[in-house]
Assembly symmetry: C2
Homo-oligomer: 222 residues x 2
């Protein structure tokens, strides 16, 4: 499953799974999970650049991703552990001004969440390295200043509950990932800034990532 | 590219690309393209069953799909033909009651468009069989009664315009598909009914498909 970036076919991203984050954007705290899809073409890996498209106000959302290890449909929360291969530290980059417009107009979120480079992600973390997915520390800095700091214990819906919900709608396949939502502290990043983030369990850092932020390059034309 | 169902990683589906269809759902005719993502896990092939999940009012949307043949980013409409490998006849099944609720609440469309079996699709049609993607006849019957009948000449945004728009946001990759929107006549289907549809060029049928409609089976529990 270490090759999920190349073989995985979907990215399911959970919305508003930390109540403090729902509130900071002025949204109600959800009573059941909801999600959207991001394209796998938006993956970038450590030290690659996050691109800001012209006209977009792009926010960082720091998230624990769960990597699916085998196919399943209508998975019960009680059986969910069997379907988890591992984890990764990830960012759900979001063109917030476009997303706000889409929400107002009842339009899909796909473009605002799916630009190239909008899913920065770290290496595969095997399941045994995270004994409890409900106790993982996440933190993110912009130019060295801490912006997001959370623990997965503050999720509204646990990882097993998310797997049950998603798989009741769309089957999960090997290499798919579920991005589990972001803690509070989301904010805009600008070209020239650098995002760093890490994931730790009991004080031990398991993933540490750096992403420079640049303008999306203009298309090369003949 | 005949194996796009197994290798392709994204399904980009265009909204409201025929003005008569936009009007029938009470929507404004868009001034630029917009799209959403469907998961590749929702593909089914000819004669497989479309499943109706409990509580969902599921509509058929008949669409021409364009199969992408090579990777490209910021593709100009003028260069778009180079990126087309072929076509397929397809259905964008939609849980309309869920989608209406999502639109009202500013939520993503992904669940209402992404249930298992919600992307019935036919075999690969090579590019040479469709000399003009702007002149393709599409028709759909429910239990033998014609419900949708359209021609791609009535698209608001042409296939090259769609490729330019989508690839300015997310790069296209080999095996990705773009579903180009549905002509008017969408409507609900019920378990026990059968959908048939075909795609023809100059009176010659290139694809002809049959999909029985059933209730989504209850989960098997131990
Ligand atoms: Mg997020
Ligand atoms: Mg996808
Ligand atoms: Mg459609």
């Amino acid at each position: 499953m270490a090759d999920f970036l190349k073989t995985g076919r979907k990215i399911i991203a959970i919305g508003r799974n930390y109540s403090e984050h729902a509130k900071e954007l002025g949204n109600a705290v959800p009573t059941e999970p909801f999600f959207f899809l991001k394209p796998t073409s938006s993956y970038i890996t450590n030290e690659q650049s996050i691109e800001i498209p012209a006209g977009c106000e792009v926010h960082h959302e720091l998230e624990l991703s769960v990597i699916i290890g085998k196919e399943g449909r209508d998975i019960l929360a009680d059986d969910a552990e069997d379907y988890i291969a591992g984890y990764a530290l990830s960012l759900d980059m979001t063109a917030r001004n476009m997303q706000d417009k889409a929400k107002k107009e009842g339009r899909p979120w796909s473009a605002s969440k799916g630009y190239d480079t909008f899913t920065p992600i770290g290496d595969f973390i095997s399941k045994d390295q995270i004994p409890d997915h409900g106790n993982v520390d996440l933190s993110l800095q912009v130019n060295g200043v801490t912006k997001q700091k959370g623990n997965t214990r503050d999720m509204i819906f646990s990882v097993p509950a998310l797997i049950e919900n998603v798989s009741s709608i769309m089957k999960l396949e090997e290499g798919d990932i579920i991005m589990t939502g972001t803690p509070k502290g989301v904010g805009r990043v600008l070209p020239g800034e650098t995002i760093t983030c890490d994931l730790a369990v009991d004080g031990k850092v398991l993933s540490q990532l750096t992403f420079p932020v640049i303008d999306r390059p203009l298309p090369k034309r003949k």
